[in-house]
């Protein structure tokens, strides 16, 4: 240990605070690690490696035993390392439990290095994922996760802690933490030493010292109280303040509840991939509209372009706008609905169904996916035609999160069953809703995306990826995005936009809505596009992959989507020709090219057609089947017309669907 000695000596000379000789390397010594793996060989090796790192190791080969140990000894461990594949309990489940109940950092490991599994780990909130065989170097640095997590917790609690001393300490710690995290080497022993000195006072590193904010341990009982409170309030109304009041636990702060609620919502969302359960989305969605309402209203119909240009409109506002618009225009949209009836070429299940479950729309990312599943890519063109009119509906759907809109949505859904096809496939989510949800989600979640737990958002996207057709891709993208159907729209959106005079009318009146929708769509699309679809084993995914750039370009997507939306919105109301949506869509696909030019309608079409094609290629049988079932002759015509349009840039489509006066000609920009 000469190195350390010399280091400390240097430190000693350099700073008076460092007086301890061998203490420098104390941290992260003694870190209490719980290792769970059913493979005895690996377990033994890990134990040995961790011991050599001077960690305190407890090993067990069953997840249930691990949970029992953790529950028994709430603050007995600093970090958990768990295998993914275990016979008695799935590693991810363990991960969730630990995250919810104990809020400890969890590292997953597996011999499986396939992207899906790693992604799953990330989205479930694992703070790291190690591939077996695990090497010593990987284990040496696991302490950074403990520090990071504590740091985040401290920050969360910092809000209510007003002590400047604490702030000072916080900052100091923060800076030290940064040093720790960035270079897990002994070079920063000086600062770490200071930190360590502080830590020395809180030897077991648990909490209670003024240096460390106590970490709230969410015991089973506490969590149950929490859940009871949430259920009592209703997931929609479950705000931290009220939950706190209901729980009536001394020492619990609003911030604790807030962060726990956040996790809980993500957890529920994950769980309810199939159910219609709308976890936090509603809440967040609902709350955001209020905030953004004012600003939103100004948007309606007016400054989209400007907004788009500035790209400033946050996704949240967008979602809020949608919500606002949605609820406001609920009635108006309903009116427009009847018109679209004729266009119900697709035999979607009544939107009502979806709305019925509607609350859950937002939260069911996975649901969304399923809805879209049914939609073959071939359907796109049709969808385009049909969807377009339905767009407003979608928008509404998006807002359906707001209870009142639901009814409006229902109406709309019924009217727009065509559109609902998309939704239908999703099962019971109105695609639109999702988009709005998505937006909200995205906007809300964006910050979370980048935290370990926040990664979960990604998962939701993942769920979505089951869509099979064009719709699918949107669906696939984001389970939460109601807009899954949108992509379809977007793709075909161009045509849909133009063909309907009614739509136009709707546009005029519902411009706002449309805009709302658009963003949703776009958003969804973008999201989809952006997400690295690791999602589902859908063939279509390959199409997505191609078009997707990276995962989690959420923020950008939102903006670009929004911009797109804005552009399209204005366009729509303007001349119903270009389908800005497409542009947006296209842009999105192309990596967020937010040019709100109407021009590239064609490219978009091309884009979508590409997508369609690729998707169709992947699942032609399915698509064609769907296509034939849902679409009659007209559909085929439309489809071919659309495709042709894509090639010719103008698609003169007869409005077999009853579009008044709108022909795809309008699409030509």
């Amino acid at each position: 240990m000469d190195f350390y000695t010399s280091q400390t000596q240097t430190i000693k000379s350099g700073s008076s605070s460092c007086s301890r000789g061998g203490d420098v390397d104390q941290f992260p010594t003694g870190l209490r690690v719980l290792v769970v793996d059913d493979d005895p060989t690996c377990l033994r090796i890990l134990e040995k490696m961790l011991r050599i790192c001077l960690y305190q190791v407890t090993k067990c080969n069953r997840a249930e035993i691990a949970l029992a140990l953790l529950r028994e000894n709430k603050n007995g461990y600093d970090i958990v390392i768990s295998d993914v594949h275990m016979p008695d309990m799935d590693g991810f489940k363990l991960l969730e439990h630990v995250g919810l109940e104990m809020d400890l950092p969890v590292i997953m490991m597996s011999a499986d290095d396939s992207k899906n599994v790693v992604m799953k780990g990330v989205t479930h909130g694992a703070c790291d994922y190690l591939i077996k065989p695990v090497r010593m170097e990987a284990l040496k640095n696991i302490w950074q996760h403990v520090v990071r997590k504590k740091k985040i917790e401290w920050k969360d609690k910092d809000v209510e802690q007003s002590g400047s001393v604490e702030d000072g300490e916080q900052q100091q710690k923060a800076s030290e933490d940064v040093e720790y995290s960035s270079s897990a080497n002994e070079g920063n022993w000086r600062s770490s030493k200071r930190r360590k000195d502080e830590d020395e006072e809180t030897e077991d590193r648990e909490d209670s010292s003024t240096l460390k904010k106590p970490r709230v341990v969410w015991s089973v009982e506490l969590h149950q109280q929490f859940v009871a409170a949430v259920n009592q309030l209703g997931i929609d109304k479950a705000v931290p303040k009220k939950i706190l009041e209901l729980m009536n636990v001394s020492g619990l702060t609003r911030e604790n509840v807030a962060s726990h609620l956040q996790k809980y919502r993500l957890y529920l969302r994950r769980l309810s991939g199939v159910s219609q359960h709308q976890s936090g989305l509603n809440t967040s969605f609902i709350t955001s509209p209020e905030a953004a309402f004012g600003s939103m209203s100004s948007l309606s119909g007016l400054d989209f372009q400007a907004l788009a240009a500035s790209g400033q409109l946050p996704a949240q506002s967008l979602a809020a706008l949608q919500a606002a618009e949605f609820s406001r225009s609920a009635t108006t949209s309903a009116i427009s609905m009847p018109i679209t009836d004729k266009r119900n070429i697709f035999s979607f299940e009544p939107p009502n169904l979806r709305f019925g479950n509607g609350h859950q729309e937002a939260s069911n990312n996975t649901k969304q996916v399923s809805l879209l599943q049914g939609v073959p890519t071939n359907m796109e063109p049709k969808h385009l035609a049909n969807l377009h009119p339905a767009q407003p509906i979608f928008g509404m759907n998006g807002n359906s999160q707001v209870n009142q809109s639901n009814s409006a949505l229902m109406q709309m859904n019924q009217l727009q069953s065509n559109r609902l096809l998309l939704n239908q496939t999703n099962g019971s989510r109105v695609p639109i809703n999702q988009s709005s949800h998505e937006q909200t989600l995205m906007s809300n979640a964006i910050p979370r995306v980048w935290t370990p737990k926040g990664v979960e958002r990604g998962t939701t996207y993942g769920h979505v990826s089951q869509g099979s057709s064009m719709v699918d891709f949107s669906v696939k993208q984001s389970t939460e995005l109601p807009g899954t159907s949108f992509p379809l729209l977007s793709g075909s959106g161009m045509s849909t936009l133009s063909p309907k005079p009614i739509f136009q009318g709707e546009v005029n009146t519902e411009v706002r809505d449309l805009r709302n929708f658009r963003p949703g769509y776009e958003l969804v699309n973008e999201l989809h596009l952006q997400k690295t679809p690791d999602w589902s084993p859908q063939n279509n995914r390959s199409a997505f992959h191609g078009s997707q750039n990276s995962s989690f370009r959420v923020k950008d997507d939102l903006h670009s989507v929004f911009n797109q939306q804005a552009v399209s919105a204005t366009t729509m109301s303007g001349d119903r020709k270009n389908v800005p949506v497409n542009n947006g869509f296209f842009s999105v696909g192309e990596g967020q090219n937010n040019t709100s030019n109407m021009g590239p309608v064609n490219p978009l079409l091309a884009y979508t057609s590409r997508r369609v094609k690729s998707e169709s290629l992947t699942d032609p049988g399915y698509q064609s089947n769907l296509l034939s079932e849902s679409f009659g002759h007209d559909d085929h015509y439309l489809l071919s017309a659309l495709l042709k349009q894509q090639q010719d840039e103008v698609l003169p489509v007869d409005n077999d669907f009853g579009f008044d006066g709108y022909s795809l000609d309008n699409l030509s920009s």
Binding site: P40, R44, H85, K132, P133, V134
Partner: protein, 151 residues
């Protein structure tokens, strides 16, 4: 003298095992983990591996012997085998697990049986090699020597 010779044999033998792919870098890691506090660490871990693998191989044989093969289960076993063999550095065993998992995914019973055969072969090969290695080690120690570290 004898010790030196034993040590040399040991080193040569170990090198050959690495060269022939029976063992990989992970095994070296294990060797480095061994220290005074745990002089038998490698042997201990390898013994665990042997026991675990033999159990897995039996399970695999049984599972593939069923009239209605549960490929998911087979895959799970193979996955575990892959994990443990890679952890101790039994490279050739790990390498067979990869196509083995593919045949499970394909639900290809013949493929699975072939892979099982291969994996058993590789396992017994590496088992023999390691046991020979341990014997050499014991001889060195018995002759009063120190087991050399393989670079």
């Amino acid at each position: 003298m004898e010790v030196v010779q034993l040590q040399r044999s040991f080193l040569e033998y170990t090198s050959s095992l690495f060269q022939e792919g029976f063992l990989d870098a992970q095994f070296s890691q294990l060797q480095q983990l061994q220290d005074e506090s745990n002089p038998q660490f490698v042997m201990e871990v390898v013994t665990l591996f042997f026991e675990d693998t033999e159990r897995l191989l039996n399970d695999l044989t049984t599972a593939l012997d069923q009239s209605n093969v549960d490929f998911k289960k087979v895959d799970a076993h193979v996955h575990q085998l892959k994990g443990s063999s890679s952890s101790i550095g039994a490279q050739r065993v790990t390498n067979v697990c990869i196509p083995f998992r593919n045949t499970c995914e394909e639900q290809n019973i013949q493929g699975c049986l072939r892979c099982l055969q291969l994996v058993k072969q590789e396992y017994f090969l590496v088992k023999n090699k390691l046991e020979a290695l341990f014997r050499l080690e014991q001889q060195i120690v018995a002759a009063g020597g120190v087991i050399p570290m393989v670079e």
